[in-house]
Symmetry: C2
Subunit: 196 residues, 2 copies
C-alpha cells in the first residue's frame, strides 16, 4: 500500500494537518496519487497508533485549531524499508480505453465529445504543470549556494517532468483517437446502422 508512504513523503516535505494533506492530494502529490480526506484521516489515525507519525495540537487565530502531523523515526524507517523493497510496475486502469474499444459495438462517433472533453482536461493539466515548473524550477536553486545538489528539489522536478511528458503523450494520443473516431460517421455502426 502506497497511500501510507505517499502521506509520509508529503509530511517529510512539510508537516501538516489532515486537511492540508487533503489539499496537497488535489495538486502536487495528488498528480500521481489520489486520496480523499476520509481516507487520509483514517490512515493518519492508524499511523499515529503505530507510532509512524507524531501529532501536535496547533491553536489558530481566526480559524479552527488543527492537528499538525509530522513523521516520527519509526515512520522514516517504514518509508526506508518500502523504498528498498521492489514494487511491480503499476497496474493501469484506463476507463477511456475501455470505452474506445467498447464504442465499436455502439456508435463510435458518439464518443467524440467525451474524448474532446478528456483532451481539454489534459491540456489544462499540462498548462498548469508548465506554470508550476517555471515558478518552482525556472530559476537555479540558490544564487549563492551553487555547491551541493538539493535532492528534494531535483527529484520533485523530475517527477514533474514525468507528469508533463505524460500529459503531452495523452494529448497527442487523444488527437489520434479523435481522428480515428471521425472516420466513423454517425449511424453507420455495424449493429444498428443502414450501411453495416
Amino acid at each position: 500500500m502506497a497511500l501510507d508512504h505517499a502521506i509520509l513523503v508529503s509530511l517529510l516535505e512539510k508537516p501538516g494537518s489532515g486537511y492540508e494533506l487533503a489539499r496537497r492530494f488535489e495538486r502536487s502529490i495528488g498528480y500521481f496519487w489520489t486520496a480523499t480526506h476520509q481516507q487520509i484521516y483514517r490512515v493518519l489515525k492508524r499511523m499515529e497508533a503505530e507510532g509512524w507519525v507524531d501529532v501536535r495540537d496547533v491553536p489558530q487565530y481566526g480559524r479552527p485549531d488543527k492537528k499538525e502531523y509530522s513523521v516520527a523515526p519509526a515512520g522514516r524507517e517504514a518509508l526506508s524499508a518500502w523504498l528498498a523493497a521492489p514494487i511491480e510496475p503499476e497496474s493501469v486502469r484506463h476507463d477511456l480505453a475501455v470505452k474506445i474499444r467498447g464504442a465499436a459495438f455502439d456508435d463510435p462517433a458518439s464518443l467524440i465529445g467525451e474524448v474532446e472533453r478528456h483532451r481539454q482536461a489534459h491540456r489544462d493539466r499540462l498548462a498548469h504543470y508548465l506554470v508550476g515548473e517555471t515558478r518552482d524550477f525556472g530559476q537555479p536553486p540558490e544564487p549563492e549556494a551553487a555547491g551541493p545538489l538539493d535532492a528534494e528539489r531535483e527529484l520533485q522536478h523530475v517527477v514533474l517532468r514525468g507528469g508533463i511528458a505524460y500529459e503531452r503523450m495523452m494529448i497527442d494520443w487523444l488527437d489520434d483517437v479523435l481522428a480515428t473516431l471521425a472516420r466513423f460517421e454517425p449511424g453507420t455502426d455495424p449493429d444498428t446502422g443502414p450501411a453495416g
Copy 2:
C-alpha cells in the same frame, strides 16, 4: 465501475469462460484494465444474476468443461448507457513517483536498480506491443473488402497505439530519472551522509 464494462467489451469481442477472461486480462484488455480471476468470477456471477450475460455449459474433450459467457441484450444496453455517460479523467496511482520523491529523504542512488528494473519492464512491454501491432495490424484488413471500415479493428488499433506511446514515454522518462538519480552519489544524502 469499469470492470463490469471491460468484461462486457471483452465478451462482445469474443464470448468465453471466466478462465479465458482472466487470460485476456493478463494481456490484450489487461494492458489498460487489470483484474484477477477471483474478481472476474464474482462479477460474472453478479452480471448473470442481473441478466447482463448468458451462460452456456460447454463440454470439452481432453480438459475440464467450461461455462461460456456471452453478452445478453440487457448487458449491451448497460454498456451503451455507460458509454454515453461522461467519466472523469482517470485518477493516477504511480508508486514509482512516490518512491522517487521519497528517495530525497533516503539515499537517492539506491533507487537506481529499481528504476532500471521498471525501465526494462516497459521496454519488454513495448517490444511485445510492437510484435502484436505488426502481427494484427501490419497488413490492411481484407484484401478484397476495401469498403466499410472495421470499427472493432480500427479502435483496437488506436488503443494499442496509445499503449505504445505510453511505453515510449515511460522509457524516455525513466532515462531522465536515472540521469537525475546518478547525480547523487551513494552516501551523500542530507540526513546520514558526510557531505550533507
